[in-house]
Structure formats: C-alpha cells, structure tokens
C-alpha cells in the first residue's frame, strides 16, 4: 500500500497510548479500576447493591452498639430485682418463724417497704429516656403509685355528668389495677355513654381483670369517680375522653405499697440482621405481672408481716418465691438476646470483611496490578513517542543534499 502521510497514524497511536497512560495513572492514584459507571457498567451496578448491603450491615452493627447498653441496663435492673426478692424471701422466712416478735416483724416489714421502693425504681429503669419495662410505651414510667379512686376533671355540682352522658367516640380510657396487674382498655364507640363504661368495668371485674368492687359512679360533685372501694387495692386511670377530661387520683386515696402497671404488652424491637430482630423493651406487665405479681406479692408480704399470722407470712413468702421463679424464667430471653447481640456482632464483622472484599474485587485494582499497568503504559507511550520522533522528520529531502 502506498503510504502518503504517517502523521495521522502517529497522532492516533500517541493519543491511544496517552489515554492508556492516563487510565493507568488514575488506577494507581485511586486504587480503583472502576471510577465511573462506564468503566464497567455491570460492576458499577453490583457496587450499588453491595454498598447498600454494606450500609445495612453497618446499620445493624450500629444498632447493636446502641441497644447493647440498653439491654445490659435492663438486665442489671432485673438482677437488682432478683436480689431484692431474695432479701424479701429471707425477711419473710425470718418473719414466718413463730418465735419472732411483732416488733421484729414490723421492722422486717419496714425494711421490705424500702425493698419494694427499690424494686419499683428498678422496674421504672430508663436508658437515655427510654423506659425499658413499659412495653412499647417507652416515654413514661410504667409503674405508678395506685389510688383507690380517680375522678374526672369534667362534671360539677351544677352540671353533673350522668350515666347517660355520651362519651367521645374513639376516646380511650384505661384502668390499670395494681392487685391484678392487669389493665382494662375501653375504647368508646359511637353512642357509648358513661353507663357503657360502667358496664365494661363490671364485666372486667367479673373477668378478673379488675379487683372485685371496682366500679364507676357519679359522685356528689357531679364527677365520674372510678374506684376500687377498698383500702388495700388501687388503680391508675387514664383517659383522653374530652367529655370526662383528665382523670386524676382523688386526694388522700393513695393505697400504700400498691403500684399499677400503665405500660402495654407490646414490645419495641430493633432489626440487627436481615431476619433478626431483638426486642429492646419488655412488658413490665409480663415480667412483674398478673398471677405471679412481683410487686403484688411483695406488697402482700409487707401486709402479712405487718398484721398477719406466721402462716400468712409463710404463704406470702411462698408467693414471693413463685414470683422470683417467674421473673428468673422471664429473664432468660433477655440474657439470650444479649448473647445473640454479641454473636450477631461478630457475624456482621465477618460480613463486613466479605462485602469489603467483594467491593474491592468489583471496582478495585491491586497495587501490583496498577503499578504493572502503569509501567506497561509508560513503556508503550515511550515507544510510540520514540517511533514518532524517528519517523516524522525523515523525508527524502534529507538525503538530497
């Protein structure tokens, strides 16, 4: 083939080799083979997915780091309560001894009142503003001192509430009973009146959710009064019904050593793996709740020590023991969750390593490869330039002098 002018070919070759040099240089300086999607579209798309997976792993790890101290706080609170219950059992056993004097029993009872206070304080443990034993109601203390009567803000002697007074549809009234450890939730439907609420309370009493004697009446001041009609059993009432107004404990109606659970039975959980969630709050109702009521049994033991017989003290002590066993069982899932967090954290650590390796193979380049590519590109570029320097100036005219 006749070659007229080699310059365009030389220019093209120089351009190509310089481009290769620039690419090699970029690889060395960034450590990446893929710097933009067009460098490798498929690897770039996989990288997007891999980065999202990595972000997910990071977020699980971060969640574990956030909730671990919370769980440890909860565990430590439960541990304190176990210690308190053991103290109570010791006191109860001592008090059940028939030779024990009344004065000594009173002293033991007084000591247990302080133990109960400590148990309540632990049950109301919060970590960074999160109450851990309130179920999903984590914003306020779950155990509240109970009263025998709550009265509504609305209603006055001049304009009394009546059983026929209509309630606000959709409003919710809850009555938490310290003795049963249960909570009755009443959601007013359209057409419901104070009488409907009254019937619901009677039904809850019949079902054992609320203590016997609990009822709703209109008091002399024209207000709605919900009470247990007992000096030993207390309740906590909450309502967001506009017709009733806020429910507040009637002055002087406080029941000593009675605490009602106002949290709920749901729990909050945090995802710490693709299919692993850890409950980060516990239902106080379930832990210290009905049947094996930790607080109720402590209260019972205090009462028995104050005024009961040796046999009654023994029975009350057994109730505390049962409550302790129940609590210990309930504690197992929490301890499991804490150890699960720890093993999940190490799994996520491995996952991070795997994903990092995957990302590096997707878009990265090893330093050795990058350096080799660079020196190869340099060599090619030098060769092209050397060839160009020889070829371009050479013409027949040089030899015709």
């Amino acid at each position: 083939m006749r070659v007229a002018n080699m310059v365009p070919d030389i220019q093209y070759a120089m351009q190509q080799s310089q481009q290769a040099l620039s690419t090699a240089l970029q690889q060395v300086s960034t450590g990446l083979r893929v710097n933009q999607p067009s460098d490798d579209p498929s690897a770039s798309a996989n990288m997007v997915v891999s980065l999202a997976a990595r972000a997910q792993v990071d977020r699980y790890t971060s969640s574990i780091n956030s909730v671990t101290p919370l769980m440890q706080t909860a565990d430590s609170a439960l541990s304190s309560i176990v210690t308190s219950l053991n103290t109570a059992i010791t006191n109860g056993t001592a008090g059940a001894n028939g030779t024990e004097t009344d004065a000594n029993r009173q002293a033991l009872a007084t000591q247990l009142v302080s133990v109960l206070g400590s148990v309540i304080s632990q049950a109301n443990t919060s970590f960074q503003g999160i109450y851990v034993f309130g179920g999903s109601a984590t914003t306020s203390p779950p155990f509240i001192a109970a009263s025998s009567t709550y009265t509504s803000a609305k209603g006055a002697a001049g304009s009394p509430l009546a059983t026929s007074t209509a309630l606000t549809a959709g409003s919710v009234t809850t009555i938490s009973d310290a003795s049963t450890g249960d909570t009755m939730t009443f959601k007013a439907a359209a057409g419901d009146t104070v009488a409907t609420l009254s019937t619901a309370i009677a039904n809850a009493v019949a079902a054992g959710t609320l203590s016997a004697g609990t009822n709703a009446t209109i008091n002399a001041a024209g207000q709605l009064a919900i009470g247990t009609n007992s000096s030993t059993s207390g309740i906590v009432v909450n309502s967001n019904d506009a017709t009733l107004g806020a429910m507040t404990a009637t002055a002087g109606s406080g029941v000593p050593n009675a605490y009602a659970y106002v949290g709920n039975s749901s729990v909050n959980s945090v995802q710490v793996g693709d299919s692993t969630s850890i409950a980060t709050s516990m239902s106080g109702g379930q832990l210290f709740g009905s049947g094996t009521n930790v607080i109720g049994s402590l209260n019972g033991l205090i009462t028995a020590l104050q005024s009961g017989t040796s046999q009654q003290i023994g029975t009350a002590t057994s109730a505390v023991s049962t409550a302790l066993n129940h609590l210990s069982q309930q504690r197992i899932p929490l301890d499991n969750a804490i150890s699960q967090l720890s093993s999940q954290e190490s799994y996520l650590g491995q996952e991070t390593v795997t994903l990092t390796a995957q990302q590096s193979s997707l878009v990265g380049v090893t330093l050795a490869d990058a350096a080799t590519n660079l020196s190869q590109a340099e060599l090619t570029n030098s060769a092209v330039l050397a060839a160009a320097a020889k070829v371009i100036p050479q013409t027949l005219l040089d030899f015709l002098k």
């Binding site: 997007v48 977020r59 980060t280 015709l400």
Partner: protein
C-alpha cells in the same frame, strides 16, 4: 521526413510537458497539508506519430491535462463512518455529562437512600429522640434533593440538546447551499472533459462536514451530486439547495421539517443531529422515565409504610413524601411532606415511644416495588443503564475513530500527497526538463552548423 524543426517542436513540447508536470508536483507539495486536497497528476500522452511511408516517427509528448486521483468508494465509506462517529460522539459527550450524577458519591441517590434507612434504623434504637427523628427528615430531604438534582441534570441536558438541534439544522442549511452552488460549476468543467479538481475537493469537504451533522445519501448525476437525507428528503438537487426548517412540537421539543413542512425528526439517526435527537428523544426520556418511576414508587411505598403506623401524638401516619400523582415528573416533583419529626409514624399501636412501625419503613428497602425490583436494585439498574449507554457510546466512538483512521489511510494511499514521492517526481521532471532543454540546445547547435555550412562554402 524528419527535420530539425520537427525535432525542435518535439523538444519544446517536451519542455512544456515537464513544466506542466512540475506545476502539478508544485501544487501537490503546496497542498500537502490542506484538508480534503486530492493529489493531482499531469496526464502525459504520446503525441500522434508522423507516418512517412512505412516509417512511423514519434512526435514526443503532449500534456493532456491534470487529473485528481480519487477513490469515490472510499470517500463514500468515510462519509458514512463520519456520520456514525459524529452520532456516537454527540451521545458520548451528553452521557459523559449525565454520568457523574449517577456515579457513587456522598450525594448520589443510592447513598442518600441508604443514609435514610440508616437514620430510620437509628431512630428505632431510640424512638423517643427528637434528634434521631430530625435525622430521618434530614436524610429524607437529602434523598429528595438527590432525586431532584438527577432529574434536573437530565432535563437540562435535554434542553441543551434541543437547542443543538436548531444549530445543527442551521449549519446543514448553510452547507447544502454551498454544495448546491458548486454543482453547476463542477458540471460545467466535467462536461467539457476537464477535471473538477479543486472545486470537487471543496465539495467533498462540504459533504463530509454535512455527514458529520446528519446521515446523507449522495447520488452522482450529470448536474452534479444529489444529496438526500437517509430517508430520502432532498437537500441538494443540481444547483438547488432545499432548506430544512424547525418548529416546536407538542412536547415543546424542536422538530425538524423538510421543505414541505413534513416532520422528518425521527428518521434522522446519525451524524451530530441524529445522535442529538436520539439522546433527546429516546435515551434521556428512557432514563428520566426510570428515575421518575423509582422516585414515585419509592415515595409511595414509604408513604404506605408510614400510613400503617401512628405518629407521636397517636394519629395515623400522614405522608412522609409529597409524590406527584403521575409518574412523569416525579423525580423533579418529589418533596418532603412533613417537617416535624414527631409526625414520623414510628409507633405501631398509637403509643408514644413505640417503634413498631419503623420496621415497616425499613422494610421498604428490601421489598420489591411495583416494578418488581427493590429500590436499591432499581437504582442499580439505572446506574447500569447509564454506565452501559456511556460505555457503548465510547466504544462506538472509539471503533469509528479507528475505522475512520484506516479509511483515511486508504484514501490517503490513493489521493494523499507523499512528500517523498513528490520530491522524486521533482527530480524526474527536472531531469526531463533538463534533457529536453539539452535537445533544444543540441538542435540549436545543429542549426548553427547547418547555417555555418553555407557560410563556410561562401568563404
């Protein structure tokens, strides 16, 4: 019968031929670097011999004219390849401007989406923290900004391409007028048997510039070349150039119309105009559609998850994002619907402090959208598409560049000026000239001898 006069005439003709050939060589050397120049050769032919009885005597050489050395087939292939290259370059340049928006960075959609889910996860560890709630809203706003910015990149690129259409059409019209103006001049030369030479070189260069703008078909006719677009719309016929027009389409985009007002936008497929239209009407709307779908479906999915829960005051979750009712324009129109962190529907049961519904919000990341892909996969598909479009355009541009180089080498091997060859020609014709001049000088001396023969006899 041979005579000194005949020989002298032959030698003079030979001098003229050598001068002509030197002139051609001179012109070639002068235009060695002129774009589009086709080397010329002097056409030398033996003069008609003189027959004297049985004797036939050569009468030297005749300079018939000058001929440009062309290869029409290669020239045509170069035009076609130029069309393909310009089309690919138009797409590559546009894609290179779009690509950074979809490259992994601190602000791209993928990263912003992950950041949003990270903030939701943080909130789940502390649902009562207003700061954690605010972080979710900030991350949401960043994601919205990323969607808005990506959409804006695509639409502003589209607007830029749209104005390029008008510029290209105006250049095409200029070129077709110039090509048409050359047609009669070239026909006149070729009809008289002359070489189109310089004029044809100019016309070829204009056609090449036209090819860089759009796909054209060239037909040779006695009246010069006829130029049509790929779909047959005439641009040049004889001395007449047909101007293309532009008009705004119903979508606000500039449409290209032929001289009869027929819309010929869609069939324009290569050249800068073809590439520009392809990007403006196919590629960018495709990307924009994918982006809008993702923004719309993602926003709606988050809103649906939000609606399953309750905010801090126990009310059913309201929309987290304001999503346009139609998919088109969703990436540009999506915005945050709430600014108060307490409105995030974290609670699953209406209890303040519950974080149960955050799991539903988090699940959006790993749940398939109506399009069948998870949000991350849908974005990864978009990144893949941007990457492969850019890489395909780059590959096409590089392949056509290499192919053009070969074709130009091929054309150059036929039509290009080789300085070495011309230098050799220079020596050849110089020698020829010197030899012919020597013949003249020899004949002159013979004439002198002949004349002096008479003088000597007289003496």
């Amino acid at each position: 019968m041979a005579s000194l006069s005949t020989s002298l005439f032959t030698a003079v003709q030979s001098l003229g031929a050598a001068t002509g050939a030197l002139q051609a060589t001179n012109n070639n050397i002068a235009n060695a670097n002129t774009p589009g120049y086709t080397r010329q050769v002097a056409i030398l032919q033996e003069a008609t011999p003189t027959n004297d009885g049985s004797l036939s005597m050569g009468n030297g050489v005749v300079l018939e004219g000058f001929q440009s050395v062309r290869d029409e087939l290669v020239q045509m292939r170069i035009q076609q390849e130029t069309e393909a290259q310009s089309g690919a370059n138009a797409q590559l340049s546009s894609m290179q401007q779009i690509q950074p928006t979809f490259t992994t960075s601190a602000q791209d959609i993928g990263t912003s989406m992950s950041a949003m889910f990270t903030s939701i996860s943080s909130l789940s560890t502390n649902p009562n923290s207003p700061a954690a709630g605010q972080a979710v809203l900030t991350a949401g706003q960043n994601l919205v900004t990323a969607f808005n910015a990506a959409s804006s990149t695509l639409t502003s690129q589209q607007a830029g391409l749209n104005s390029q259409v008008t510029q290209d059409v105006s250049q095409i019209n200029q070129l077709t007028q110039q090509i048409a103006a050359l047609n009669p001049k070239i026909s006149e030369l070729t009809s008289t048997g002359q070489n189109g030479g310089t004029l044809q070189d100019q016309q070829n260069q204009l056609v090449l510039s036209l090819s860089a703008l759009t796909n054209v078909a060239i037909t040779q006719t006695p009246n010069g070349i006829t130029v049509t677009t790929g779909n047959g719309t005439p641009l040049v016929m004889g001395s007449q150039g047909f101007a293309l027009h532009t008009a705004n389409g119903s979508d606000g985009m500039t449409q290209v119309l032929d001289q009869n007002g027929t819309n010929i936008t869609a069939p324009l497929t290569s050249g800068d105009l073809g590439g520009t239209i392809q990007m403006r009407d196919q590629t960018i709307p495709g990307l924009l559609g994918q982006l809008d779908t993702l923004a719309n479906q993602f926003g709606s999915a988050m809103n649906a998850a939000q609606a399953k829960g309750f905010d801090q005051s126990g009310k059913a979750g309201q929309n987290l994002f304001t999503v346009p009712s139609t998919i088109a324009g969703s990436a540009a129109g999506i915005s945050m619907a709430i600014t108060d962190p307490s409105k995030i529907a974290a609670s699953s049961d209406g209890t303040a402090g519950s974080s149960g519904n955050l799991a539903n919000l988090s699940a959006v990341e790993t749940t398939a959208l109506p399009g069948g892909e998870t949000p991350v996969s849908a974005y990864a598909s978009l990144v893949y598409k941007v990457g492969s479009l850019t890489s395909n355009a780059a590959a096409e541009s590089s392949a056509t560049a290499s192919s053009l180089l070969q074709l130009n080498d091929q054309l150059s091997s036929v039509s290009g000026v080789s300085i070495d060859q011309e230098s050799a020609n220079l020596i050849t014709y110089q020698t020829a000239y010197q030899a012919a001049a020597r013949v003249v000088s020899t004949i002159q001396s013979l004439f002198s001898i002949t004349l002096s023969m008479g003088t000597a006899a007289a003496a």
